[in-house]
């Protein structure tokens, strides 16, 4: 049969069919454009959160439904959209294509690649907006998420499924803590998602570079809505990151999402809200700014094994101005999250990095998830440091101190120095335990402050050779009396190496 005959047969079939196969489309017309917000007349059957398509193929999202008009936020390039353009409803809610192939990729909040590699074929579509799992589906946080930063793992432990806020002024190392945590997840079976909102593209590029160099990109997804992206994309980025995290969590895996940072996310939403003429509240943020973040962070959870297990840990970052934690967005986030890591400029400039203010930082649920060995040795450290802080503040006014107090202050300063750690060098559990155990040890009573970092490097070099010891601590998560003796010997050896 020739091709023409086939066509004729098809045509006949089409014509003889009585039923018309039609598609009812809801349409509207652009009336007004305000930056990325289009006011559309018509679309009388569209629902909130639906994706619409403009005549030139650009997509939009219904964000405002008033009596006469529909407010649509344009997701792509809004230059080129005209008043009078046709708008079609698609009947779909906004979602992102997810797949295991996302690992190692850089995408925008709509799932389009930003790394010059071919598009990702999705296995499923996950809705960006989703109601967080209810109480029945959750179980308490009980597994640690090792950040590889000894100060955090010892004093502000984070568990899988927790939401721990990283808060501080600009340039205090907030992103560094998050990135170090990602670097430390190598071989820990944690899928990492780094979501950059309103960041400089150069910063994101250097982060990608760093992750690549440390072979951390193979288990990481990067979502970027840079400061040059539209406010709409910046608004959706954290939800997209969360949706991808949920995809991995639903497979029973553990996922970690870093939102960097949510103050810019709030700005993007404020911009959209102000254009939509929604009533402005404190600092011109709209009334639902709290819900904006609470519904996002509530989606972090540790799922019960009955419902497939898996967890989603969230590390939101928020920037403060001059250490002011009482401004609107930081207070909101502090109350939503399960604790915060508070970073200070003064500490940072004094060379104490990570510049964590231990007094103001807490982890409300992570304590249950801390490894037994860490819990044992960190308890003493916490107490000592708290006493030291109090004493140090008090002793500033007194010129003459007795011997005992002076010794105590010296010890506190040494402990603080021991918690300093270089960036991008996360430690495994055994290293952390060994170092903190050493810091508590009486053998180092006379170690001068400026020799602490020397001692640390010698000590770690010696520890590196003791593969069995390291492995035993990492596996058993205990410190036996035998191993304590071994550590003692190592400390003595390391002390001899310092001259």
């Amino acid at each position: 049969m020739s091709l023409i005959d086939q066509y004729l047969k098809e045509l006949e079939k089409e014509l003889s069919g009585k039923k018309i196969d039609y598609q009812l489309k809801d349409t509207g017309e652009v009336v007004e454009l305000k930056d990325e917000i289009a006011l559309v007349a018509g679309l009388s059957n569209v629902s909130y959160g639906e994706v619409v398509e403009f005549a030139n193929g650009v997509r939009g999202y219904v964000i405002d439904l008033s009596e006469d008009f529909v407010g649509v936020v344009i997701l792509d390039q809004f230059i080129g959209v005209k008043a009078g353009d046709k708008v079609y409803a698609t009947g779909k809610t906004i979602s992102i294509g997810v797949s295991d192939k996302l690992l190692g990729r850089v995408i925008d909040p709509l799932g389009r690649p930003l790394d010059n590699l071919p598009p990702i074929k999705p296995d499923a579509f996950y809705s960006l907006e989703k109601i967080a799992p209810g109480v029945v589906y959750r179980q308490p946080v009980n597994t640690p998420l090792q950040t590889g930063i000894k100060l955090i793992d010892a004093l502000i432990p984070i568990g899988r499924g927790q939401r721990e806020l990283i808060i501080g002024d600009r340039g205090t190392g907030k992103t560094t803590i998050a990135i170090d945590t990602i670097l430390n997840q190598k071989g820990e079976n944690v899928i990492c998602i780094y979501c950059a909102v309103g960041q400089k593209n150069s910063k994101v590029a250097s982060i990608i570079d760093l992750l690549k160099k440390n072979n951390a990109l193979s288990y990481t997804v990067i979502i970027n809505a840079s400061s040059s992206s539209s406010a709409a994309l910046q608004y959706f980025a954290p939800y997209a990151a969360c949706a991808i995290g949920e995809y991995f969590m639903d497979q029973g895996k553990d996922a970690l999402v870093v939102y960097d940072d949510l103050s810019k996310h709030a700005w993007a939403y404020r911009q959209i809200s102000l254009i939509l003429r929604r009533p402005a509240g404190r600092e011109a943020y709209p009334g639902d700014i709290f819900y904006l973040h609470s519904r996002l962070l509530e989606r972090a959870c540790r799922k019960d094994e009955k419902y497939g297990g898996g967890s989603l840990t969230a590390l939101p970052i928020v920037e403060t101005l001059e250490g002011d934690v009482s401004s609107y967005i930081p207070t909101n986030l502090i109350s939503i999250t399960d604790g915060q890591i508070f970073l200070e400029t003064d500490l940072f400039n004094a060379g104490i990095r990570p510049a964590v203010n231990i007094g103001l930082s807490v982890s409300r649920v992570g304590g249950n998830a801390q490894t037994p060995v860490m819990k044992k040795i960190a308890g003493k450290l916490k107490l000592d440091l708290a006493q030291y802080r109090e004493m140090a503040a008090f002793s500033q006014f007194e010129s003459e101190l007795d011997e005992e107090t002076r010794n105590f202050l010296k010890r506190g300063a040494r402990l603080t120095q021991f918690l300093v750690q270089k960036q991008n060098q996360p430690y495994c559990l055994a290293y952390e335990v060994a170092l903190i155990w050493a810091a508590n040890s009486l053998l180092l009573q006379d170690l001068p402050l400026n020799k602490v970092s020397d001692f640390e490097s010698h000590f770690l070099r010696l520890l590196e050779k003791e593969k069995e010891l390291v492995e035993e601590i990492n596996k058993s998560k205990q410190l036996s009396a035998n191993n304590e003796k071994k550590l003692e010997n190592l400390i003595k050896k390391a002390l001899k190496l310092i001259t």
């Binding site: 018309i20 009812l24 489309k25 809801d26 349409t27 509207g28 679309l43 009388s44 193929g57």
Partner: protein, 92 residues
Amino acid sequence: MKIDFRLKEELRKYLEKKINEKKQIVKVISVYPLTEAEINQLRKSLPMLSERKMVNIVDKSIIGGLIIKFDSQEIDLSILGQLKNFKNLLIK
């Protein structure tokens, strides 16, 4: 221009009525004027149109087929619409 408040209520009622009437009207765009029989057939195959008033508009640019519009809804059965879909498919 300020509208007298005594007129306002009446005007609103009138406009509302007018808008509702307009909403009921179905526009059918075709390349040639449709006959009564063809319109009746259309009513039969699309039950939601049965009660409404129909207006036939001739527009050659749709090449062939029909576009049916009522309220904000639209059914595109034209060749032009299919070509557009095809174009989108190719681009994607």
